[in-house]
């Protein structure tokens, strides 16, 4: 099936390329603050435009070679050996060699945490086109780094690189007006074939500006808020893309003992530290209603951090929209409404907590309001509270917070649920730590190949006895997966699409070189 699609696409390329070299205008945001340097985080989502990566993910998220023609993992899982294609060139004409790859990885490691390179030791060129990447501990999700870190030229990489990037990607820069627009043109040295657009312009600015560009017929692809997506202007169609861009309630797992984090933020919440509360919340939430309320129907219910991805375990979920089961769970755990005020209590402690949302985010606000309303029905009083991100940073260890994640990379699951990541960045703010889950996650990372790691990822969510999923510890109550909405010119064929990660806008460019213009000018 995929092969057939690919063949049809190839045919389409050859047939349509001659008549479709035309400029393309996109208003999908994504302007990087620090410029176009992969070593400072550019290109993690979407297409790095100027650079290419060792591997890439196809529409099914399967890894395939880009700069690499062959890659393998040593027996002990510590050394990735990569063989490069020999015909790849940077946009200045210089060949891409193993030295460049080693330079990129080693420099990214030394750049200090801007690129997630945990357990990475060093890269060594073992030949002109072969390179070894050495890890200190087995880490199967390191393959995702190979698919996201753009390779930079060792010779010309320097302080000004972020503004004038040179890479082996499909495009080279024509002009970047910061805050306004980026113009790129095809890189004639690109190894991936011909790009059928003479120029591609990325217009930055507010959402409203993008809408205006679409209405005047200037832009060909525009990221639009879901609330307006269903009324595209003439000549455009609405595109709703499935994502793993999820939103859920993060629960503080520890009881409040007066403990404080290194930054002085309080840790723990006596109500949510009780598993019965967390399970009941998972059982009570009517996720379809939340999709209707907060997303205008453009989304789907979420039960885990990676719904529909290969490492997801659907068995870990609990049926939602079941207030009776939720009430039974609470009663069994001793949460009863003795004083008849509508809020259950247990040993004098009322089942009451705040649901903190970032006040700048209307979708999360709607989710907080919707969840609070639904929880009232089972005797839990949840009070929405809108705060700035700064304030949330100080509240997230002791309050329920509406967070969002979603990546094409199972290491995110590791980061969210492994005890080692408690209060590291935003990853595990609730201090979730279950030795059995930790062991499953570590087993997954030390698997010998990706397929062998999948059962371990799934077992971390639910292994029949425990797990981070709702049937186990219910460390989160996931609510919805968003759909990302775009207006796309009716003349543009974007080919098969990936399920999109967190972030509405730029990820749509992932397969940009493969897009085709189907109308005659």
């Amino acid at each position: 099936m995929t092969k057939l699609t690919a063949a049809v696409l190839c045919a389409a390329v050859f047939l349509s390329a001659p008549l479709s070299a035309r400029p393309l205008v996109l208003a999908v945001g994504g302007e990087p603050d620090g410029g176009f340097d992969p070593l400072t985080g550019w290109g993690r989502y979407g297409n790095p435009l100027f650079q290419s990566t060792l591997l890439k993910r196809d529409a099914d998220l399967t890894l395939e070679g880009d700069l690499a023609t062959d890659w393998g993992l040593s027996e002990d899982g510590l050394i990735w050996s990569v063989t490069l294609r020999e015909d790849a060139r940077f946009s200045d004409g210089a060949p891409v060699t193993a030295e460049d790859v080693a330079f990129t990885f080693n420099t990214a490691r030394d750049a200090g945490g801007l690129v997630d390179l945990q357990d990475f030791v060093a890269a060594r060129a073992t030949g002109p086109f072969t390179v070894d990447l050495e890890l200190s501990a087995p880490r199967i999700s390191f393959a995702s780094r190979l698919a996201t870190l753009g390779i930079v030229p060792a010779k010309s990489y320097g302080p000004g690189y972020a503004r004038e990037p040179i890479g082996s990607g499909p495009f080279r820069m024509v002009e970047w007006q910061e805050g306004a627009q980026l113009v790129v043109e095809p890189n004639p040295y690109w190894h991936g074939g011909e790009v059928p657009f003479e120029r591609v312009s990325f217009v930055f600015g507010s959402e409203d500006a993008g809408l205006a560009l679409a209405r005047t017929g200037v832009a060909d692809v525009v990221a639009v808020p879901a609330s307006q997506a269903d009324a595209p202007p003439e000549g455009m169609r609405a595109l709703h893309i499935e994502t793993v861009d999820n939103r859920g309630l993060m629960f503080p797992m520890r009881p409040d003992t007066g403990e404080r984090s290194a930054g002085g933020a309080p840790i723990g919440n006596d109500v949510t530290a009780d598993r019965a509360i967390r399970v009941a919340v998972n059982q009570a939430l009517d996720r379809d209603a939340l999709v209707a309320l907060a997303l205008g129907g453009h989304g789907r219910p979420a039960t885990g951090p990676a719904d529909g991805l290969p490492w997801d375990n659907p068995d870990a979920g609990l049926a939602g929209n079941d207030p009776d089961a939720a009430r039974a769970t609470l009663e069994a755990a001793g949460w009863v409404d003795a004083d008849g005020d509508g809020t259950r209590e247990k040993d004098g402690l009322p089942a009451r907590f705040a649901i903190v949302y970032p006040s700048s985010d209307s979708t999360r606000q709607a989710l907080a309001l919707g969840a609070a309303q639904q929880l009232r029905g089972i005797g839990i009083t949840a009070e929405p509270a809108g705060r700035s991100w700064d304030e949330i940073g100080a509240m997230m260890h002791s309050n329920v917070v509406v967070f969002g994640w979603g990546a094409h990379d199972p290491s995110e699951v590791y980061n969210l649920y492994h005890g080692r990541f408690a209060a590291i960045d935003d990853f595990n703010p609730g201090y979730y730590d279950n030795p059995a889950v930790n062991a499953h996650l570590e087993a997954a990372e030390s698997a010998n190949d990706f397929a062998a790691s999948l059962p371990h990822w799934r077992a971390a969510a639910w292994d029949g006895e425990t797990g981070f999923g709702p049937r186990g510890d219910a460390a989160w109550a996931w609510m919805v997966n968003l759909e990302h909405s775009y207006w796309v010119s009716e003349c543009l064929d974007m080919g098969p699409m990936q399920i999109h990660p967190h972030g509405h806008g730029f990820p749509i460019t992932h397969d940009l070189p493969g897009w085709r213009w189907t109308c005659a000018e």
């Binding site: 409203d208 307006q228 209603a289 700048s360 209307s362 709607a366 309303q373 809108g386």
Partner: protein, 283 residues
């Protein structure tokens, strides 16, 4: 200014009381309507409702519903009540600051200089910028709004009161009282208070609509009241996007409500100010 003039002014305020009373009644009626109405509002009218998202005005929802299915009319009433409460607290605090500073200024020369400089300084700063800075420093939220408004609206009134207090303090009858050995608090009560009170009341009523408008402004730009709570500024900010989506009714009720309340109090305050002012005097 002589004692005779001032007593004549006092007479003048009594004679010119009709328009302020008339307008005061209007404002008071609105206040009671808003506060009473919101207190009597059934809680379920403010609830989100996924089955009633974005309804146009109809008999069930006279001003339609918003993007979360909340009744706009009910939410506007609750928002106005919130604004009025914030406005009352902030205007009271602001008036209090103005009074304290003017009394301090009347007490001795150094304090008078200090208050004068402070007042001019505060007046010279752009109003809304100062408001934003204080609200931001307070971390936003309802308290931030109240503090920000309280600390930005006092200078005009303080300047007026300071002038009045100085005038009274320099008057012959205060000198006479002092010569008769009256203590300072007696002078304050019997000479200062009767002259400052009308200005104080007019000042308060004039600050009130500004407080409401600025509450709405701060909430509009996201530095004010939490966005899920009913507030005029929040509702107007949300309505921006709604209008683009064609739901004009989301903006009508909060906009008109804010206009009505602010205008009623502005006119009442203006009438009071004119009445409290000596004929032809400038303040």
């Amino acid at each position: 200014m002589t004692a005779l003039d001032i007593s004549a002014d006092g007479e003048g305020t009594v004679r010119g009381i009709r328009p302020p009373l008339h307008r005061g009644l209007w404002a008071a009626c609105l206040l009671i309507l808003v506060l009473g109405g919101s207190a009597l509002l059934p809680a379920n009218l403010l609830e989100i409702d996924a089955s009633a998202i974005g309804r146009a005005p109809d008999p069930g929802h006279p001003f339609g519903t918003d993007s979360l299915g909340r009744d706009v009319a009910a939410r506007t009433l609750a928002a106005l009540a919130m604004s009025v409460k914030v406005g009352l607290v902030a205007a009271t605090a602001s008036t209090g600051i103005a009074l304290l500073l003017s009394l301090a200024a009347a007490s001795n020369r150094v304090a008078d200089q200090a208050v004068g400089v402070l007042t001019e300084l505060a007046l010279g700063l752009p109003h809304f910028v100062l408001l934003i800075m204080i609200a931001y420093a307070m971390g936003g939220g309802t308290n931030g709004v109240v503090v920000a408004i309280a600390f930005t609206h006092w200078p005009r009134l303080a300047r007026l009161l300071r002038h009045e207090a100085q005038g009274v303090a320099a008057s012959d009858y205060v000198a006479a009282s002092q010569a008769l050995g009256r203590p300072a608090h007696w002078i304050a009560r019997h000479h200062m208070a009767p002259h400052l009170a009308p200005h104080l009341i007019a000042g308060f009523v004039l600050i009130f609509p500004h407080a409401i408008l600025h509450e709405a402004g701060l909430s509009f730009i996201g530095l004010g009241i939490e966005p899920h709570l009913p507030s005029i500024g929040v509702m107007l900010a949300e309505s921006l996007r709604e209008i683009i989506a064609g739901r004009w009714w989301v903006a009508v009720a909060p906009g008109a409500g804010l206009l009505l309340v602010a205008l009623a109090f502005e006119r009442f305050g203006e009438a009071l100010r004119v009445a409290a002012e000596p004929p032809g005097g400038a303040s």
